[in-house]
Symmetry: C2
């Protein structure tokens, strides 16, 4: 069947190094060999082959920015739409993404651009209550839904395109 | 096919009185006869026949509490799980729900109970980025997904039951 998955947070705390580098024997003190909610989320993001469109209110989690930067280094086309007020906050990863040459736009129209969704290759949506922050991943009760159901993905693809064009700085 | 719908916000501003009372000729100054995002959300909530399980971080929107109170008055079984910190905030509708005799539990374990989902009759999930507040509905860029796909609904039913039991005050 078509991919339909729901992931709940907070995640168990465990090392996610194997998600980035499967062959690496990590010497860190966290637990290894555990597939956590956060590892599953990372795998869905890293499954991208051509594009990643990201529309997130808050983005401060360093492993999530590592994932986005890894996709960028692989040559994928990445577009990031974020909230104008949150982008400048301490710990925000947006500056790092910009510095790496990733295309970022800030939503200036709404009180808050409060979405938290990602589109993988334009055909898989990752969406829910989870902001891309440490607190959300490790402390909060949160949900993330991942699906390739066209009836659910297509509206997000259209909304991303609409918001992306509406926030063209030129 | 199975219900699969995505609703985006902010909503257009228009009267939603017809959602509550179809036959009533509303004299208010807002636009009438328009089916807005917010009207669609209300209709999904009001479609409940037997139960409504609600798991929301912030609940201050008066029309949303009107909908929940209407279901309660119809005799439906309602359970509300909310964030311990938000429940006491100015404008919160939680006190009103309690006063009406609706069963409410506050999550005391997490830094934040950050979910924003509702289960209609245990078989339709309404979930997304949208808190049940005026700002979210009228000002923010937000999304709400509504589906009856069992693979997506069942995990939310289980998570609600788990959180509900975990926050039993007795
Ligand atoms: Zn490690
Ligand atoms: Zn009216």
């Amino acid at each position: 069947g078509v991919l339909k998955e729901v992931i709940f947070f907070p995640t168990k705390v465990a090392c996610v190094e194997h998600v980035f580098m499967p062959a690496y024997q990590c010497p860190c003190l966290l637990q290894h060999g555990v597939e956590t909610s956060f590892a599953r989320l990372l795998r869905h993001i890293l499954s991208a082959n051509s594009t990643l469109d990201l529309c997130v209110f808050a983005f401060s989690h360093m492993d999530l920015s590592r994932a986005v930067l890894a996709l960028h280094a692989r040559g994928l086309v990445i577009r990031v739409l974020t909230d104008k007020d949150y982008a400048g906050i301490t710990g925000s990863q947006i500056g790092l993404l910009l510095k790496a040459g990733i295309c970022v736009r800030s939503d200036s129209g709404a009180v808050h651009m409060h979405h938290k969704f990602a589109l993988v290759d334009g055909r898989r949506v990752i969406t829910g209550s989870l902001n891309w922050t440490m607190t959300a991943v490790q402390n909060n009760k949160e949900n993330v839904m991942v699906t390739e159901e066209p009836d659910l993905v297509t509206p997000f693809v259209r909304e991303f395109q609409r918001l992306w064009e509406a926030n063209d700085p030129e």
